[in-house]
C-alpha cells in the first residue's frame, strides 16, 4: 500500500445561523466523517462556526478563467435587472 497524506476536502463554515456557508480552507482526510472532524478541529478553534460542510476537493467543478468573458460579461448589459435603473418620482413611497 502506498502511503499518502490522504485526499483533500474543501471546508465550508457557517459562522452564524441564517447566513450562507463560506469557504474556510481545506483539510486532508481518509473519509467524510474524519473530514468533518478534522474540519471541526482545524477551522473552529476560535468559535468560528456553527455548521460545517466538507466536500471532496475533486468533486468540485470550477469554471475556468477563459470562461470569464462568455460566462459573466453578458450580464453586464442588463442594467434593467437592478433597481437603480428605474426613475421613481420623489414622494412616491414604498417602492
Amino acid at each position: 500500500m502506498t502511503d499518502t497524506q490522504w485526499p483533500v476536502w474543501e471546508v465550508f463554515v457557517q459562522a452564524n445561523p441564517g447566513i450562507p456557508h463560506k469557504h474556510a480552507g481545506s483539510v486532508h482526510a481518509p473519509d467524510a466523517e474524519m473530514a468533518l472532524q478534522n474540519a471541526r478541529d482545524v477551522y473552529s478553534r476560535r468559535s468560528e462556526g456553527m455548521n460545517i460542510w466538507v466536500v471532496p476537493a475533486n468533486a468540485i467543478t470550477a469554471s475556468s478563467p477563459e470562461d470569464q468573458g462568455s460566462f459573466f460579461e453578458p450580464s453586464n448589459d442588463k442594467p434593467y435587472r437592478h433597481p437603480t435603473f428605474y426613475k421613481i418620482p420623489e414622494g412616491v413611497k414604498y417602492l
Binding site: 500500500m1 490522504w6 486532508h28 474524519m34 472532524q37 478534522n38 482545524v42
Partner: protein, 252 residues
C-alpha cells in the same frame, strides 16, 4: 470523614485523572501521525487542561487551606495523586494512545453524564460543560478504534495488543470506597456500578464494530484511590513539576 472532605477527595480523583491524561496527550504535540490528528489531539488535551483547572480550583476552595489549582497540580507528590492508573500509562504507539483514550473517554462520558445531576451545583456545572467536550472526544476516539481495528492487519494487531495490555487497569475505574458511598448517599456522585454497565455495553459495541476481541486478562491492578501508582507517574510528575518546584514562590 465529612461531606466536605469526601468532596475534596473526589475532586482530586476527577481532577488528577484529567490532568494526567491531558498531560500524556500533550506529549504527542508535534509528533502525531498526520498534521490534522496532531491538531485534534491538542484540542482534546486543551479540554483536559481546562477541566483540570476547574476541578482542582474547586477542590482547593473546599479544602480551604489556601491551595489553588496550581499548588495542587504542581506541589503534591506521587503518593498524593489520585488519578486512575490507566491515565498515567505512557503513550506507546498511536494505537495504545487511542485505546487508552477510548477506554477512559467512555468512562468519563457516562460518569460525567451522572455528575451533571449532582446536588453539588459547582460539580454539576463543571460536568455539564465538560460533557459536551467529552462527547466529542469519544466520537473522535471511537472513530479511530474502528479505523485501526478494522483497517489493516498491522493496525488491527497493534490495537488488539494495546487493548490487551490496558485491560488490567480497567477494573479500577469502577472501584468504590467510603468516599463514593457518602457522595452517592448525598446525591453528589453517581453509583459506579451503573456506570460500569453502561461502560461495558458501549465498549462491547465499539469492539465488535472494530473487530476486536475482548481481552481475557483476569489480573486487575488497582491502587490509585490510595495513591499507589505505577512507576510511570513519578517520571511524569518529575517533568511536569520541575520548573514550578525549582523556583518556590515564583510567579510565571
Amino acid at each position: 470523614m465529612n461531606l466536605q472532605q469526601a468532596k475534596f477527595e473526589y475532586l482530586l480523583r476527577l481532577g488528577d485523572s484529567s490532568l494526567i491524561i491531558g498531560h500524556r496527550l500533550s506529549e504527542w504535540c508535534g509528533h502525531g501521525p498526520i498534521l490534522e490528528e496532531d491538531l485534534a489531539m491538542i484540542n482534546i488535551a486543551l479540554d483536559f487542561v481546562g477541566n483540570t483547572s476547574e476541578l482542582l480550583k474547586y477542590a482547593g476552595q473546599l479544602e480551604d487551606k489556601g491551595r489553588d489549582e496550581d499548588e495542587l497540580a504542581y506541589m503534591r507528590d506521587e503518593r498524593e495523586f489520585r488519578n486512575l492508573l490507566i491515565t498515567e500509562q505512557p503513550n506507546g504507539d498511536f494505537a495504545f494512545t487511542i485505546a487508552r483514550q477510548f477506554l477512559f473517554d467512555t468512562y468519563m462520558f457516562f460518569l460525567y453524564e451522572g455528575l451533571k445531576a449532582s446536588k453539588d451545583e459547582t460539580i454539576a456545572a463543571i460536568a455539564a460543560k465538560s460533557h459536551k467536550e467529552i462527547t466529542y472526544h469519544l466520537r473522535h476516539t471511537s472513530e479511530w478504534m474502528y479505523r485501526l481495528g478494522d483497517g489493516t492487519a498491522e493496525s488491527h494487531d497493534r490495537l488488539q495488543s494495546a487493548v490487551n495490555d490496558l485491560w488490567m487497569f480497567t477494573a479500577e475505574l469502577f472501584d468504590m470506597d467510603e468516599v463514593d458511598a457518602l457522595l452517592i448517599k448525598e446525591g453528589v456522585a453517581p453509583d459506579l456500578n451503573n456506570i460500569k454497565t453502561e461502560w461495558e455495553t458501549r465498549v462491547n459495541e465499539v469492539f465488535a464494530k472494530a473487530t476486536l476481541q475482548l481481552p481475557t486478562t483476569t489480573f486487575k491492578q488497582k491502587g490509585s484511590r490510595e495513591g499507589k501508582h505505577t512507576e510511570h507517574l513519578g517520571f511524569l510528575l518529575a517533568e511536569m513539576q520541575y520548573l514550578h518546584r525549582a523556583y518556590p514562590g515564583a510567579k510565571w
